[in-house]
């Protein structure tokens, strides 16, 4: 996930972009929770460096553009579990569509590209 102009990630952004949720027991995704030291929980969120270290995410900086990016968690497989992450994407008119709205319906999701 991209982090512009700061080195802190808000909990809501973290959950939306990575599926990792900030809970009393730590950072949690699917059935897995990773402890988070109390001092790492700020009012603004969690420092990107702490997330990278705790979750095994790469942290890449582009300081000349005031940008950071956290890669997905490494060390296992691309899928931590088989549940489709909550994902909201826009249609061609910018209207958001939540894949969660398809619960109850089977679907095949196909990635394509114009290039």
């Amino acid at each position: 996930m991209l982090i512009a102009g700061t080195d802190v990630v808000e909990a809501a952004d973290l959950a939306t972009r990575t599926g990792w949720e900030l809970k009393p027991e730590g950072l949690c995704k699917a059935d897995r929770c990773v402890p988070l030291p109390a001092e790492a929980r700020g009012d603004e969120g969690v420092p990107a460096g702490v997330l990278a270290e705790r979750l095994g995410m790469a942290l890449v900086a582009a300081p000349e553009h005031d940008l950071l990016a956290l890669g997905p968690e490494a060390g296992g497989h691309a899928l931590l579990d088989a549940r489709l992450p909550d994902l909201e994407l826009p249609d061609r008119h910018g209207r958001p569509f939540s894949l969660r709205s398809l619960r109850g319906t089977r679907f095949v999701m196909v990635a394509w590209a114009s290039w």
């Binding site: 990016a69 089977r106 114009s114 290039w115």
Partner: protein, 232 residues
């Protein structure tokens, strides 16, 4: 392309969702969507989030999702029973005045095996039999078949995201550095390469900015790495 299969599958309870992996967003993908006039959800993923979330490395790639939001097949090459491009080439051939880069691409493409009819047959089986279909995998199998992710792939994803941001914010030179890093760290990821090459040349031919291009990469990495045969 998916409309015909969707018309067949939807009455059996299987929806189709298409997602354009296009850093250019609606400006890049919109006219294709307008032309197709899909009745199914047709979305745009300008940040290539499916790459990072699911391990998508080329297009077209499909995943199957059951009623509970659980993947029953991981990312794999997905053609809707046919390949329009190949059908057109088979019927009409390559126009003699085509640019050389396109002729080279078609020649290289001939070595890439696809199995669109097998994928569509598997989808039809799942539509008919649901969880009892032999193509519906257990959660453990889905995870095990998803792409392993060592640390360098996480780094590649972060570089690609910075590159895409810089490209869309008017910094193409700075973007290229991060795209090149993504390519170096995750050489098997075709979406990272094809997206970046396409910014320089719509045919993804050789340019001064990258060490490789579509044709040279297919030749050097081997056509079987481009679309691995589906494990169906």
């Amino acid at each position: 392309m998916w409309q015909a299969l969707r018309a067949e599958l939807r009455p059996q309870g299987v929806e189709v969702v298409t997602v354009a992996l296009d850093t250019g967003g609606a400006e890049a993908a919109g006219r294709w969507i307008d032309a197709a006039q899909p009745e199914h959800p047709s979305l745009i993923d300008a940040e290539h989030r499916l790459d990072a979330l699911l391990g998508v490395v080329n297009v077209p790639t499909g995943v199957w999702v059951d009623e509970d939001g659980v993947l029953v097949r991981p990312p794999e090459v997905a053609h809707p029973g046919t390949s329009v491009l190949r059908d057109m080439l088979a019927e009409h051939g390559m126009p003699a005045d085509s640019p050389q880069v396109l002729k080279d691409q078609v020649a290289a493409m001939a070595g890439i095996e696809i199995h669109p009819e097998r994928y569509a047959a598997a989808l039809r089986d799942w539509a008919a039999h649901g969880a009892a279909s032999r193509f519906a995998l257990s959660p453990d199998e889905v995870v095990a078949r998803s792409r392993p992710r060592p640390p360098e792939l996480s780094q590649a994803a972060a570089h690609f995201e910075i590159g895409a941001y810089l490209h869309t914010h008017g910094e193409p030179g700075a973007a290229r550095h991060h795209f090149r890093e993504a390519h170096r760290l995750d050489p098997a990821n075709w979406t990272y390469k094809r997206q970046a090459w396409s910014f320089e040349d719509p045919f993804q031919g050789p340019t001064e900015h990258y060490d490789s291009d579509w044709v040279s990469e297919v030749r050097s990495r081997g056509p079987e790495t481009y679309y691995p045969p589906p494990d169906l």
